[in-house]
Amino acid sequence: MDRLLLIAATLCFLASFGYTLYALGAGRFKPGRGNVVAIFAGFLFLSTFLYLRGKAEGSCPLNSLFDVLVFQSWALVLIYLVVGSAYRLSLLGAFTAPLAFFLVLAAFIAPLNHQPVRRAVLNPWIEFHAALSIIAYGAFGLACIAGVMYLLQESQIKSHKVSPLFYNLPPINDLAVANGRLVWLGFGLLTIGFGAGFLSQMPVNSVKFVASAAIWIVYGVLLLLKRLHTLAPRRLAMLSVVLFALAIITLPGIQYLSSRP
């Protein structure tokens, strides 16, 4: 049952992604309701999967890299559904679907332990800390997507060559605002997540702590530079793409190192 739910979610994200690719290839892309419906259906399947997984593990399902990847995909879509529509960036969904798809696909095909893992110690603050941190990465993920959209649109305007995507992508000014706000949201959530981590009084895992603190500091510096008007929107867009990519790429390594005794 669990596996079927995950497959259904993957197929929903794939359908949305596939439609986007097809429409782009045919040169007549425009955001449609189909994308949102497919992503929402995928979100419902993932939510049910995570609920059942949480019941099986007796805690928030964030106890293995497999769990983290699935939860990350869910958090990304959650932030898209909650925040994306507020910015009227309907096309965000078309870009969110592939990322959500690849995260779930990675969880599926990577040589990971798919069996539920039970925590030795149950502490609600630890669960709150872990869940909020992953949701914060969801916001960073969406900032990355807004950054990709910004760079695409900016490059079209700069190069004087417009594709059908030009007419559907939002103005770069709006994308820059969304990009900045999403980084702020992620940073705020990560800060609260850190606070919850300290309140839990759990033993500090040095690898995880250093990696998380480094990411928190770098995003903080980005926001500070933006505040001081020394970081142009293009650079913020590029850095939010690079940072999120780095965070996702290094995730397995950090998870592996932090699980070693």
């Binding site: 007549r28 305007i157 004087h160 417009v162 059908p164 103005p171 000014n173 929107p233 293009r234």
Partner: protein, 339 residues
């Protein structure tokens, strides 16, 4: 019952001929009455725009009705109208192509739909439409909407000014409150500035080597005039710069603009260089946050837009052919029921 369409348009008659046959709003009631008095006609709609004068009617004997219509037009204008003539299903196809913008001078233009709607409403108001014509025009409006929504036939802007406004929208989003500076008070820059003002641009600053000319243009478009030597002083507040001076060499270089961009706190700058020879060094486009368009690049976008529209013609024609089939089937069924 057949649907008849007769008329002349920009493809088969020059303006000086078209204007002889144009039907102004003050002549509409009288002309509709005269057309409806033609034997065998049971309804009529007259579409008269700057690019076409067309008569749509329901008729049992279209060929005779067409001859009578030609005579009527000759009697009114004293000229032989170079009329084209379509009978069902050609007339239906022609109307569907007209409302979809496929028969327009600028391929895919959307103004024609409003004009056809207006012509149909006027005819309906005068009681000149029949159930066949009502069905035909309602169907045509649905076809136009379908073609527009499902294809890219209306996509993009097709004039230099409209492209500039579209690009400004894609850079800044809402143009309300944005500031425009015009360097050199030329006609094209004035038209572009007016388009931007109509989209909500807040302030227009005009600067020209001859201050009086700048002041005159500023007054006309509700802007502010400044002396040409001072334009750099207010530059940091400007979002869109339109250049069209008659300077023999560039007035805005990368070296000059780079330090000014640092004062803008990351705000983008859209530079529209309409001058020939150009006012702005092309390498300015390489600066972060600067988007430079000259006449060639603006016309390049127009060409790309028209190319996209042309590539959609086949799809549009296919949709229209399907819809003509649907309407003609209805027409036959309707006649079958009546007989």
């Amino acid at each position: 019952m057949n649907i008849l369409c007769a008329g002349l348009n920009h493809q088969n008659a020059p303006l000086d001929v078209r204007e002889k046959f144009a039907v102004g709003s003050h002549q509409l009631a009288e002309t509709l009455s005269a057309v409806r008095a033609i034997g065998g006609l049971s309804g009529a709609v007259i579409l008269s725009t700057c690019n076409r004068v067309e008569f749509y009617a329901a008729s049992l004997c279209p060929v005779r009705a067409f001859d009578d219509l030609r005579n009527l037009l000759h009697a009114r204008s004293g000229l032989d109208a170079p009329l084209y003539f379509h009978d069902t299903p050609g007339s239906v196809r022609h109307l569907f192509r007209v409302v979809s913008g496929l028969d327009s001078m600028v391929l895919g233009e959307t103004e024609i739909l409003g004009q056809v709607k207006k012509a149909y409403s006027a005819a309906a108001e005068f009681g000149a439409t029949t159930s066949h014509l009502n069905k035909l025009f309602q169907h045509a409006f649905r076809v136009a909407k379908h073609v527009r929504t499902e294809t890219q036939i209306t996509r993009g802007a097709t004039s230099v000014g409209a492209v500039a406004v579209e690009l400004a929208g894609k850079i800044f989003g809402d143009l309300t409150g944005r500031r425009v500076m015009i360097l050199g008070a030329g006609d094209t820059s004035e038209r572009t500035a007016r388009s931007l003002v109509s989209r909500g641009v807040k302030t227009v600053i005009v600067s020209n080597r001859t201050y009086e000319r700048a002041a005159k243009l500023a007054e006309e478009i509700g802007g502010l005039a400044i002396h040409f030597d001072h334009w750099q002083n207010v530059f940091s507040d400007v979002d869109i710069l339109i250049c069209s001076t008659a300077a023999p060499s560039t007035i805005l270089t990368r070296e000059k603009l780079a330090p000014l961009m640092k004062e803008r706190a990351g705000r983008p700058l859209f530079v529209i260089d309409l001058a020939v020879p150009r006012d702005v060094e092309s390498s300015v486009n390489e600066l972060e946050g600067v988007f430079l368009y000259d006449m060639d690049s603006l016309e390049g976008i127009v060409s790309q837009t028209l190319e996209v529209r042309r590539s959609e013609i086949v799809r549009c024609e296919k949709m229209i052919a399907d819809q003509v089939g649907t309407f003609v089937s209805w027409l036959k069924r309707h006649q079958g029921l009546r007989s």
